[in-house]
Symmetry: C2
Subunit: 158 residues, 2 copies
């Protein structure tokens, strides 16, 4: 777990050990009814969430968002919902609403409170520059959600 | 406009003149780019929202929800959102999220407040017993939405 050098850079191992990343891993393993991923490392499992800018450019945004990408978006927001539940006790419902053009919404709501409301565009290209970015973007949404849940617990509990 | 008898029954004309029904008419006419409905009465326009129990039984819930039915559900919740805006000043976003099996959610949200959150099932059979029921069901959702918006204006304005 200790880095071999003395810089302050975070290793991939350290990032993947973070609570949100572990929750994301859990979401994916939970859907793995056939045990396909049983022997896969967490890093291999989360690799498809990393999409370089170059690769993104090569993905067409003309057609539908394919099922695998949609499942990936769902797993990401479900992991955030699960973390919000752990931190606030509020159970969240996740909705991914995508048009055929890859535009839409990712919503997480508890009671009548929208703890996450993110517009999606070019969802065919869903992905992050690096594991660090994946965790950071997720954490940003998560912290805002926790904030809202703590500020308006009454609305979250309706 | 006056009923020919002296009972307290509401006439269809009176129901169709109600604000929510008029808003629903407006939603449909607004989508009528080719002027197909220009010569249609409001009653004829809203007739497809009335589906008898008998007819419902004959509609299969196995396949996808067809586009016309989906558009009808959308118009209904958009009309509610428009009425909420008129009453509270809060602009609402409407999302209809349906699985291939006709299950899902109808959501209207203002800011981070879900003013309407209704689970849908057998959406292939979307419809109401009568114009009176159509208005009453819509009004029930509407009043609850206005209530929430007035109780939590801060959340609605985020």
């Amino acid at each position: 777990m200790t880095a071999t050098n003395t810089t302050t850079e975070t290793t991939t191992e350290e990032i993947l050990a973070k609570p949100l990343m572990q929750e994301l891993v859990k979401q994916i393993r939970g859907q793995d009814s056939y045990g396909t991923y049983r022997t896969w490392s967490d890093e291999l499992l989360l690799k498809p969430f990393i999409v370089s800018k170059e690769r993104k450019r090569k993905i067409s945004v003309d057609g539908d968002v394919d099922l695998v990408t949609k499942a990936r978006i769902m797993a990401f927001y479900r992991a955030i919902a699960a973390r919000i539940e752990q931190e606030t006790g509020l159970l969240g419902q996740v909705i991914i609403d995508l048009s055929h053009e890859g535009f839409g919404w990712a919503l997480v709501f508890c009671g009548r409170l929208l703890v996450v409301a993110k517009t999606l565009r070019d969802a065919q290209r869903f992905g992050f520059d690096s594991f660090e970015k994946l965790d950071a973007e997720g954490e940003k949404l998560l912290q805002k959600g926790i904030d809202l849940a703590k500020r308006y617990p009454e609305v979250g509990n309706i």
